[in-house]
């Protein structure tokens, strides 16, 4: 071998492939203000839209007078439901099988609902005109409590009057949407009846909001000459938007181009279809010029998709020594005025049936009742797979409550009940097949690292000191062990509006040995341009630095279902690896031809094919790429391209072990996070630095939700937390130092063993922060208190326990 030839280790490092903490290639533009977001798009002649929104949560729209608005110079149009009705666009289908008003059709069902759409020559005129549209309302009784909704005579959805069958089965009441049942109710009830110990608790997982830094918006541009519609927007699933836009508008799909440019965070908020998108399209079709709509922060918080709002009642059965024997869960789910949850079609409560968690629970039953109220629609997966934060919070609280019931250490209770390593693949009682896991190893590593025994000893000493009056600060040790279910999903049971939840990758290798790969997903900050290039680098032997990743333009990217639910790496990442393998298969034939040996006589070696037994004879991938374009190879087409559509055989199941140590000032209710340790197992690790960044981000959003972030309503349905003064968005100031750690348990069915990580820290973080608060008060008799644990609610807990007396 030539002395100048880099050794294998060096060649491998040069690829910057799997496992490399490569810097994010996106950040050059983001850190220099050179990103290109929807609001940066300015087209010639573009008009601006703005909404007249309802100040009432429930009211009849008696009349709308547009005259004054239309008289304002610069106003081009004012659209109402009446104008959209002839196009049949005054209502639109939701992802959950319901329908939603695009503009108020006779009544409004939540504060902030879209009533009229003003189109004007600039954004300021549009805002002025909004104030000039006169809407007469007749107030109706407001229902903000889902339990009251199921009792009241007040009919929220008059359009559904008499419909006893919904998209997901029978409706029990005029404000009831669906009941979704999973598992074995009779056996579960029997186990509960026979159990030595049963712990029961009701918990409210409050309504909150993903609140991405960039709000939602779109620019629609209808070219009436060519009949083509171009739609730029904040879409987490641009291809699905194209299909929906085609079905709604009647424009053939090849005449619609949807582009998701740079997106400033999504967290589930940008999965659904909003009235603003539809109105910008209609307005552009009507006016023949581009129309932009970008909502402001208050509109985003008030009207676009919320998350959570689940009332969960659990019963958990166990033996006296702590072996769990059964789990019963009932959820009353507040969906707001329309059921616009973003879940796979067959899962109206998402994957709530992952609520048996990380534990070997032989029998379980789950029922979810969806209910209409006078609140904004939504119910999206906020930095989690569908309803998994709710499921994990539920089980991790039930474990704590059971530990209290059993007077047992909560870490030990988890240890006793974990699914064991040799039980994988594990069939859960509620129907999932967990692909792989090693929970005990992760748990022991976490507890050892934080010196769990030492923490408990310190905590006990603190309680004694508190009782003696020597301190006013209590100490909480928050534990959580979570199993996520991500990577939706197998086409056989996962679809969005009928579209199977596969994903895709198309690769073109250029003659000089660089490449472009396009995917059906769309990054909103996840770093796809960095990590997918790394997957490919390891598969095809070209440096990640020589591979461009492109997403978000439906005219160029292959069809895919988009980015949410941590599905990009499990699904599109798998498609990338599989497409890369197709490239490599063809490259093998080319290499064999060039080396004048049989295809089977060459083997892959990092970045090249070598002749078996003669390592000095090889062709690098760069040489092969060139040959693909300049050689006439018998039986092989020119060029080097591949495409893969990947239908995952199963979900992936990342997991993790988190510990939070918190000090709580009993007198002010102020919590201080002393330590946060997060061990994540996301299978094969593609870019450790990006994983760490994702964990930091997810934990910070978990901190927000657990400690104060909420969308709160008063009795009249007014949003009380409609600005960032009251809606808690943490900054560096509120965020503690995070310690990250990992174990690696690859997914057995994923081509590279990766499981996805972006949402794990949020899923595991929320119960960990919450458990820390609640644990601080365990010694004083607290069993459960609801989030968010803001200062006054923590203070209230202390007060109710008599700690201020």
């Amino acid at each position: 071998m030539n002395d100048m030839t880099p050794d294998r280790e060096e060649r491998s490092a040069n690829l910057k492939g799997l496992g490399c903490s490569r810097k994010r290639v996106e950040d050059a533009r983001f850190t220099q203000g050179k990103g290109n977001y929807v609001d940066d798009i300015k087209l010639p002649g573009m008009l601006h839209g703005d909404f007249v929104r309802s100040p009432y949560a429930h009211a009849r729209v008696v009349s709308i007078n547009k005259d004054a608005a239309l008289e304002l110079p610069g106003v081009v149009a004012v659209l109402t439901a009446e104008d959209l009705a002839p196009l049949n666009l005054h209502w639109m289908p939701t992802l959950a099988g319901d329908k939603q008003m695009v503009l108020a059709d006779g009544k409004v069902l939540f504060q902030g609902q879209e009533v009229a759409f003003v189109v004007a020559k600039d954004r300021y005129i549009a805002a002025d005109a909004v104030e000039l549209v006169e809407v007469e309302y007749e107030e109706l009784p407001v229902i903000v409590d889902p339990f009251e909704a199921l009792k009241t005579d007040v009919v929220l959805r008059e359009d559904l009057a008499g419909q006893t069958e919904g998209a997901h089965g029978p409706r029990k009441h005029h404000n009831h949407i669906f009941t979704w049942e999973q598992g074995d109710e009779a056996t579960t009830n029997q186990v509960l009846d026979d159990a030595e110990v049963v712990a029961e608790e009701t918990m409210y997982y409050h309504r909150t909001h993903p609140c991405p830094l960039e709000t939602c918006g779109s620019v629609a541009s209808m070219d009436k000459v060519n009949g083509k519609l171009t739609l730029y927007g904040t879409f987490q699933a641009p291809h699905v938007v194209r299909t929906v836009a085609s079905l709604l508008s009647g424009i053939e799909e090849h005449n619609i181009r949807v582009v998701s440019p740079d997106i400033g965070g999504g967290f589930g908020n940008k999965v659904g279809v909003y009235p603003g998108y539809v109105c910008s399209i209609v307005a552009s079709i009507v006016t023949g010029v581009p129309v932009k709509w970008v909502e402001d922060r208050m509109e985003n918080l008030m009207s676009t998709a919320f998350a959570r709002d689940y009332w969960m009642t659990g019963k958990i059965a166990a033996t006296k020594d702590g072996k769990i024997t059964g789990l019963h869960c009932h959820v009353t789910a507040d969906h707001g005025g329309f059921d616009a949850c973003a879940d796979p079609t067959k899962f109206p409560a998402g994957f709530m049936n992952i609520c048996t968690g990380s534990y070997d629970i032989p029998v379980a039953y789950l029922a979810v009742d969806g209910v209409y109220t006078n609140k904004a629609p939504g119910g999206v997966s906020y930095r989690c797979s569908f309803r998994v934060t709710e499921a994990v919070y539920f089980i991790e609280r039930m474990i704590e409550v059971l530990a209290i019931e059993l007077n047992m250490d909560a870490a030990e209770l988890r240890r006793i009940n974990f699914i064991k390593k040799d039980q994988f693949p594990y069939q859960s009682a509620l129907g999932w097949e967990y692909d792989s896991g090693d929970y005990h190893t992760a748990w022991e590593k976490a507890l050892k690292t934080v010196d769990y025994e030492g923490l408990r000893k310190e905590q006990a000493e603190r309680v004694e000191a508190f009782k003696r009056g020597e301190t006013r600060t209590l100490m909480g040790v928050g534990l959580s062990f979570f199993t996520e279910i991500v990577g939706a999903g197998p086409v056989k049971n996962c679809d969005i509006l009928g579209m199977g939840m596969f994903d895709s990758c198309e690769i073109r290798i250029h003659p000089t040995g660089s490449a472009i790969a396009r995917l059906g997903t769309i990054s909103q900050g996840q770093g796809h341009a960095t990590t997918f290039a790394q997957i490919l680098a390891s598969e095809i032997g070209l440096s990640a630095d020589s591979i461009t990743i492109e997403e978000g333009d439906t005219d160029t990217a292959p069809y895919g279902l988009g980015t949410y639910g941590s599905r990009s790496t499990p699904v599109a990442g798998a498609a990338t690896a599989m497409a890369g393998r197709k490239i490599r298969a063809k490259a093998q034939m080319i290499a064999a031809y060039l080396l004048e040996v049989h295809d089977d006589d060459v083997e892959w070696d990092i970045d090249r094919f070598v002749v078996k037994g003669a390592p000095e004879r090889f062709k690098t991938m760069k040489e092969i790429a060139y040959a693909a374009y300049n050689q006439a190879i018998p039986g092989v087409e020119p060029g080097l391209e591949a495409v893969s559509y990947y239908d995952p055989p199963n979900m992936t199941y990342p997991f993790g072990a988190y510990v939070c140590v918190m000090d709580i000032d009993v007198d002010t209710g102020v919590p201080e996070i002393r330590r946060f340790y997060a061990l994540d197992d996301c299978g094969t690790r593609i870019n450790p630095m990006i994983i760490e960044g994702q964990v930091h981000g997810g934990l910070t959003e978990a901190l927000a939700v657990a400690l104060g972030q909420e969308i709160a309503y008063d009795d009249l349905g007014n949003v009380k937390t409609g600005t960032l003064m009251d809606f808690f968005l943490p900054t560096a100031w509120e965020v503690p130092n995070y310690e990250t750690d990992h174990t690696v348990t690859p997914s057995p069915h994923h081509p590279i063993g990766a499981k996805g990580v972006g949402e794990s820290p949020h899923v595991g973080g929320v119960p960990c922060f919450s458990n820390a608060v609640q644990d601080a008060f365990r010694a004083f008799g607290l069993r459960h208190t609801n989030m968010p644990h803001d200062h006054w609610r923590i203070w209230q807990t202390a007060n109710r326990l008599g700690l201020h007396d």
């Binding site: 208050m298 209710g669 100031w733 200062h791 006054w792 007060n799």
Partner: protein
Amino acid sequence: MIPAAFEYHRPTKMDDVIALLTEHGDDARVMAGGHSLIPMMKLRMADVPHLIDLQDIGGLQNISIEGQRVTLGAMVTQHELINHTALAEVAPILRETALQIADPQVRYMGTVGGNVANGDPGNDMPGLMQCLDAQINLTGPSGSRSVAARDYYEAAYMTAREDDEVLVSVSFDAPRSGYAYEKQKRKIGDYATAAAAVTITKDGGKVASASVAMTNLSDVPVWSEAACDALVGTDCNVDALAAAVAAMLGDIDPTEDNRGPVAFKRHVAGVILKRAIARAWDRA
């Protein structure tokens, strides 16, 4: 978050500001850092057809210290307060307070004058100025006058300043005392759940004088003379603290909001005041 149309004025002389205010009356507002007014305009909660930007008016940017007499120009930013070495030496409570206002970006723009003038119960400087017994210096068509900070605030956003007057500076004697500004807030950028400004002078192991003012616990800042009286002559022992808190609680009138109900706010006000007194006493 799109304001209505407005005329933007940027005079270079105070006379021109007064002339504009006289001409436009209620329709005109002066703007210092803009961190209260501009958001209100964007929310269309403030209708300001004529906005008068003060940034080109000379003489409003100075921090002057003559002996113990401190005068802060209305356009002095919180950032400048924090970084002024001489001020930190003579009146460190200003820096301690300003560091608890909003976040660095806001403090680069937000001014003393705007904070004091606006009459927003959430602002921190009004309580501090009452604690320091500052004079608020106004100028208007009929000349200049001063109003004691303790007399300046009438109700939320209602002050002794007439519509055609401009707040040009605040001045006070820097206290030769222990001091503390203690604030509880939900997050950075938030107004106080409860905050207390306290100065204490010590003589022979006893409190010789004390000044106590509370922020965001009523529709105006609350200078609690009764709390001051409860401390004077004591050695700030547990009983004195309790008496001061009880006195202060008689003067505040918090309302429920997203920060919490009244009972919580009253409890926290007491805790915060005790901590402020303890720290001021330590430093006295």
